[in-house]
Symmetry: C2
């Protein structure tokens, strides 16, 4: 019976972003996947958008003053804080005992999420159905599709609430 306590623990990664959909996915997870009986570690995974503003201007990066770069970096940090605060409001409204971890990645959401899942080896990955963060309308569904295909754990794709 070695390892029983480990067996009973579950670790769930929820990919969160600025979208209402991802908060809905988090709620779904809290309602449906987290039991009162077994201890759960909830990993909130946020992927900062790639710094397109730098990469598009690679050749003229010297054009940016320190102020602009600082402002862009601050914007990134503000986004992280804003998303994590919204997520916290969601999980605090559920009276479930949770160990919450926050993981911040940076880069292409689909790659960062897949790599994070490979490292963290969660029992389940939960994500909204829509694309992730910026340009999500253009990328509709592509991140969740890509991750559902690539990761090895069960994947829950939660559709927007108003779709039902």
């Amino acid at each position: 019976m070695e390892g029983m306590s480990v067996e009973n623990q579950q670790r769930i990664v929820v990919a969160v972003d600025e979208s209402e959909e991802s908060m809905h996915a988090l709620s779904w997870c809290l309602t449906n996947l987290i039991s009162h009986s077994s201890p759960t570690t909830l990993v909130l995974l946020y992927v900062k958008p790639p710094p397109a503003i730098y990469s598009s201007f690679d050749l003229s990066v010297h054009m940016f003053s320190t102020d602009v770069i600082t402002a862009v970096e601050k914007y990134g940090t503000d986004l992280v804080n804003s998303v994590m605060q919204r997520a916290e409001a969601v999980y605090r409204s559920f009276s479930k005992k949770l160990n919450v971890e926050r993981v911040i990645g940076s880069g292409e959401a689909k790659d960062v999420i897949c790599n994070a899942v490979e490292k963290l080896k969660p029992d389940t990955l939960v994500m909204g159905s829509h694309g992730y963060g910026f340009l999500r309308k253009a990328l509709l569904g592509s991140v969740s599709e890509h991750c559902a295909k690539r990761v090895k754990c069960p994947v829950v794709i939660v559709k927007p609430a108003h779709d039902k």
Copy 2:
């Protein structure tokens, strides 16, 4: 508070087929999605493969004797029974109170599953990641991908156990 009891009930559709993966998906669902507290209706959805043997020989259907047709029909019925019996063995091994319904469809799995979900309006659809039934290697993943895109409820795609 009207409708509270209905709110607390959940209906989960699990797409089952001949594969080990779909039985694993059913086990995952029973372990992770079905609580002891709220009443659950588990709908086992099985889609019989399309009768390719007829459609490929449309012009020469008269070539089949009644015996052959009967044998093919019996084979279909045997498959249904075999899958449902395996599913029953899985859910009986979990001591959870369930209302189990069986729905048998016929045709293209991806269309039949999506249409069934549209009609049954479950809270969640659970399915294996691999293709469905026959030719599942050739169609790897395509049924779950298609359904995850089209249905409006949360979709759980459960990967084969040995993948983790």
